[in-house]
């Protein structure tokens, strides 16, 4: 299981702030986790296919090839707008 967090506009779109997700394999890439979530259909499909979507694994920005392990924290969010 991984803890998945959604922030800001994305959280509103999915109506979900946090969930536990069972990984399909013991080791999945960020890209694979996105595909798994997109397979749920809308609104996940659009959200996970958004090329501006950012992903952090254990609170560090992650590229699509980064491996997600059970127990990790994965955050999905739109481009940041603070400051």
């Amino acid at each position: 299981m991984v803890k998945v967090l959604y922030f800001a506009r994305l959280r509103d779109q999915l109506d979900c702030a946090e969930e536990q997700v069972m990984l399909r394999d013991s080791r999945n890439s960020v890209a694979e986790l996105r595909q798994q979530l997109a397979a749920r259909g809308e609104p996940w499909l659009s959200a996970m296919q958004d090329e501006n979507l950012l992903v952090a694994v254990n609170q560090v920005i992650a590229t699509p090839d980064v491996v997600v392990n059970a127990g990790d924290e994965v955050g999905f969010f739109p481009p940041v707008t603070g400051g």
Partner: protein, 149 residues
């Protein structure tokens, strides 16, 4: 020093801390960002700021560490507010002290430029037409890229 907080902050207090850090400090540069009361032509009545607790602090600590590697600064302080904010409220503080002004100016602007593009904060504006998540600006990404040279 990094703080993420709902409460307002005092520039005077932050400046005093930067001034007392060390006797060889010759330059202190501070930046404060305020809520502007205009968004294009629409009236912004207020905003709500959320962040990714834990990750925010890590990102800002890394930015300060990066700035220390690039310039001979003595210290840097960052405060970012979250929650409900209104027109003219203080949002963000970045302060840097150094023996030399060029390092203090560069590091302060660097920290703000990267905070804008790397720190996980999101603004939702309360406009007269309804609440709207603010879009990221291409100009902020351009400003960040200046530092790659």
């Amino acid at each position: 020093m990094i703080r993420i907080q709902n409460e307002d902050f005092s520039l005077a207090d932050e400046y005093q801390a930067l001034r007392e850090d060390a006797p060889q400090i010759g330059a202190i540069v501070t930046f404060v960002g305020l809520v502007r009361d205009l968004h294009n032509d629409e009236s912004v009545n207020g905003m709500f700021l959320e962040h990714y607790p834990g990750m925010t602090e890590k990102v800002l600590a890394q930015l300060i560490e990066d700035a220390r590697q690039r310039w001979p600064i003595t210290n840097a302080r960052i405060i970012h507010r979250i929650g409900a904010l209104h027109a003219s409220d203080q949002i963000v503080f970045v302060g840097v002290n150094s023996a030399h002004r060029e390092a203090a100016f560069a590091a302060c602007e660097y920290l703000m430029d990267f905070l804008k593009t790397k720190a996980p904060f999101w603004k939702k504006e309360q406009r007269s037409t309804g609440d709207v998540w603010v879009d990221a600006k291409a100009s902020d990404t351009e400003r960040e890229s200046r530092w790659q040279n």
